[in-house]
């Protein structure tokens, strides 16, 4: 018996939601990045599910590229985090409020 694609899609949606909530709620920059990774994984899962149900390899190719870009993004993002938070004691993103109007 095959698990219907719907279940995986729901799972991916829930994962996305959890990741989004974490992104909005946690103050630590590093944890926010991890939540970002959760969201990206949810998207990947969706792509793969659709790829299987539509029998199109393009979905998996998309995931391939998403992973590459996610890696690059984490690299640069963490570089920025290091550059910004090198001198401070905490990594709370709330400290970066210089754009207050």
């Amino acid at each position: 018996m095959n698990v219907p694609a719907a279940w995986y899609l729901i799972l991916a949606a829930l994962l996305f939601g959890v990741g989004a909530f974490g992104l909005l709620t946690r103050r630590s920059v590093l944890i926010m990045f991890m939540c970002l990774e959760l969201m990206l994984n949810a998207v990947n899962l969706t792509f793969v599910t659709f790829s299987r149900s539509l029998s199109d390899i393009a979905g998996q190719a998309s995931v391939f590229f998403v992973m590459v870009v996610a890696a690059a993004e984490v690299t640069v993002g963490l570089g920025i985090v290091v550059a910004v938070f090198r001198q401070r004691a905490s990594t709370s993103v709330d400290e970066l409020s210089g754009l207050k109007g």
Binding site: L23, L24, T25, V93, D94, L96, S97, L99, K100, G101
Partner: protein, 623 residues
């Protein structure tokens, strides 16, 4: 002929422009000569035009000056209509204006801004001629407004006097209210006949429905009451006596105030279509004549008596128009111009000799000191009282005979008014020229002196005209009379039985009896006294409290509204709205500023919420 007519109109304008351009450098004498000269020239040209018109077979001629307005179906040209009515008006307007210009050279001698006076006077003559010679209602309206504004300038000539300034304002405002009537009439006529040209309107007059005709006539009546000082818009005229006496003579006796009557006579084909309108006109005229005469009996200022007398006499003219006796109205207009100008100029001479005194209680016994003013004034007095064979007797008699034929109650009112007219004029005459001398204080003990020839010559001329004036329309001279001359241009009036010759003699006798009765009454009462609580009343002196009535019903409520607007609406509503916009903008900006908190997480939250909204929209759309 076309050139002559154009020149008649333009000469006063030339005078105005010349004095305007060069006046500051010219002497008083030069200004006076130029200003009087152009008007005199205009008069000469009018006489020429008169004879040309007599020779013309059509007795009417349009002189086209230039195309003015051509919009849609409205075509108005600047053009003149030379016909018996306009030539008659021009004759006495230019003639009397020339005489008064001459008089003013002497009267205004030494006044500051002599030049300004003659500027306005010339401009006034130009506007009056434009009004009279126009061939359509719109050009007439231009002249109408022109005389109004010149009257305003001239009445407030002594503008540093509060009373003069507000008198000028009052004159202008009352005129303006009347002008609404003329505008409404123009709108109605254009709507009905699609033309503002007189000849066009007259051809189409027969097609006017009774309602439209009556409304038009009532609107014209409103305009006439404003300009000619009839009820309900008459109380500007007594106040306008603040202006110099020549102004009172020219504008408020002989010319401008006759413009209203002229308009009604000019529009007589339209009046012919509305019996109700004519009846209203007659009633207004008769009642005004009576009311003004009663007021004149209690006035103390010589010029105010003459002012109310003017209102009363014009009431007679309006009454004549109302019963359809158009040529009688014009006849009285001409005679009135002669004798009223004479009386005003004479009173100006008296005032001049007494160094500016105008209160009759401080005059008296002037007969022997003013050898030219006295006899001319006497002639004017007899004329206005209606003593034969002077012009006033024939003119007033013509009017009253026609009124008798149409409307007996108004005739009775007219006779009562005639008695009062003779009475108050005789009272004026007695208080001014006879009785004891009460003026020594004003002349500082000296004898009053007669006026110079520039002032007395016009008096003499006018006196002669007052004597002979009746000749232009003798009741038995059918054929060579004013009525015959004017007949082609006047509208049709339903024919009533003319009074028989015997009846006419009888009416004439009644007129004379009324005049003599009034005259004798005044002589007997006023020979020895200057004030009388029995024969004068403060109700009459205060113009039947008309001014107070207008003040209470119109003036004060309007002031309240204005004060309310100033104190409440202006700061709270208008300023409030403008400031309110600024305040609202600033407050909303302050509120929106809170969105820029600087916290990235809040920005992210905003994005998520926005996305949630989009999702909800998409879900809703699918279902």
């Amino acid at each position: 002929m076309a050139h002559v007519a154009t020149l008649i109109l333009l000469m006063p304008l030339v005078g105005y422009l010349f004095v305007l351009a060069n006046g500051k450098g010219l002497s008083e004498r030069a200004i006076g000569v130029v200003a009087t000269g152009v008007v005199a020239l205009s008069f000469v040209l009018t006489v020429v035009a008169f004879f040309l018109l007599l020779g013309h077979s059509d007795r009417e001629m349009t002189v086209h000056l230039f195309n003015w307005i051509s919009v849609g179906s409205l075509h108005v040209n600047a053009a003149l209509l030379v016909d018996p009515l306009s030539i008659t008006m021009c004759l006495f307007v230019t003639g009397i204006s020339a005489l008064i210009h001459l008089y003013s050279i002497g009267y205004m001698k030494g006044e500051k801004d002599f030049r300004k006076f003659f500027l306005y006077l010339n401009l006034f003559v130009f506007s009056m001629l434009l009004l009279v010679l126009a061939n359509n209602l719109l050009v007439t309206f231009v002249g109408w407004e022109g005389v109004g504004v010149c009257s305003y300038w001239l009445v407030s000539y002594y503008f540093d006097r509060d009373s003069a300034a507000s008198a000028g304002k009052k004159a202008f405002l009352y005129n303006r209210v009347g002008d609404i009537g003329l505008l409404i009439a123009m709108f109605l006529l254009f709507h009905a006949t699609h033309t503002l040209n007189y000849l066009g309107i007259f051809h189409a007059a027969g097609t006017l429905s009774p309602t439209v005709a009556t409304l038009t006539v009532l609107a014209l009546l409103l305009a006439a009451t404003g300009k000619s000082a009839q009820i309900p818009l008459f109380n500007w005229l007594p106040d306008a006596m603040e202006g110099p006496t020549p102004v009172s003579a020219l504008i408020h006796a002989a010319t401008m105030v006759t413009a209203g009557v002229f308009l009604l006579v000019r529009m007589s084909p339209v009046l012919a279509m509305s019996p109700d309108g004519r009846a209203t006109i007659a009633v207004i005229g008769g009642v005004t004549a009576f009311v003004a005469a009663t007021i004149a009996t209690s006035q103390k200022d010589i010029k105010k008596v003459l002012a109310f007398s003017t209102v009363s006499q014009i009431g007679y003219m309006v009454l004549a128009v109302g019963v359809g006796a158009y040529s009688a109205a014009i006849f009285l207009m001409i005679a009135h111009a002669f004798f009223k100008a004479l009386l005003f100029l004479g009173s100006g001479s008296v005032i001049h000799s007494l160094n500016g005194e105008q209160d009759m209680r401080k005059m008296g016994g002037l007969a022997k000191y003013l050898p030219l003013t006295f006899p001319t004034f006497l002639i004017g007095w007899l004329t206005i009282s209606g003593i034969p064979p002077f012009a006033g007797f024939f003119a007033k008699g013509d009017v009253l005979t026609n009124v008798f034929e149409h409307n007996k109650p108004l005739w009775v009112l007219g006779i009562v008014t005639a008695i009062l007219t003779a009475y108050y004029m005789s009272r004026l005459f007695v208080l001014t020229f006879r009785g004891t001398e009460r003026f020594r204080e004003d002349t500082h003990g000296h004898d009053p002196h007669e006026s110079p020839w520039v002032m007395t010559l016009p008096l003499v001329v006018l006196a002669v005209l007052s004597i002979l004036g009746g000749l232009i329309n003798l009741p038995w001279a059918h054929g060579r009379s004013l009525a015959e001359f004017l007949n082609p241009v006047l509208g049709y009036v339903p024919h009533v039985a003319a009074a028989s010759t015997a009846a006419q003699w009888g009416l004439a006798a009644v007129d004379v009896a009324a005049a003599v009765f009034g005259l004798l009454a005044a002589f007997s009462i006023w020979r020895n006294i200057t004030e009388s609580s029995r024969y004068e009343s403060s109700f009459l002196e205060h113009v039947w409290h008309w001014d107070d009535f207008y003040d209470a019903t119109i003036g004060r409520p309007l002031t309240e509204v204005a004060v309310f607007s100033d104190e409440v609406i202006e700061p709270k509503v208008i300023d409030g709205a403008v400031t309110g916009i600024a305040v609202a903008t600033r407050n909303s900006a302050e509120g929106l500023r809170k969105l820029q908190s600087g916290f990235a997480r809040q920005y992210a939250l905003a994005m998520v919420l926005g996305f949630a909204v989009i999702i909800v929209y998409l879900v809703a759309r699918v279902h």
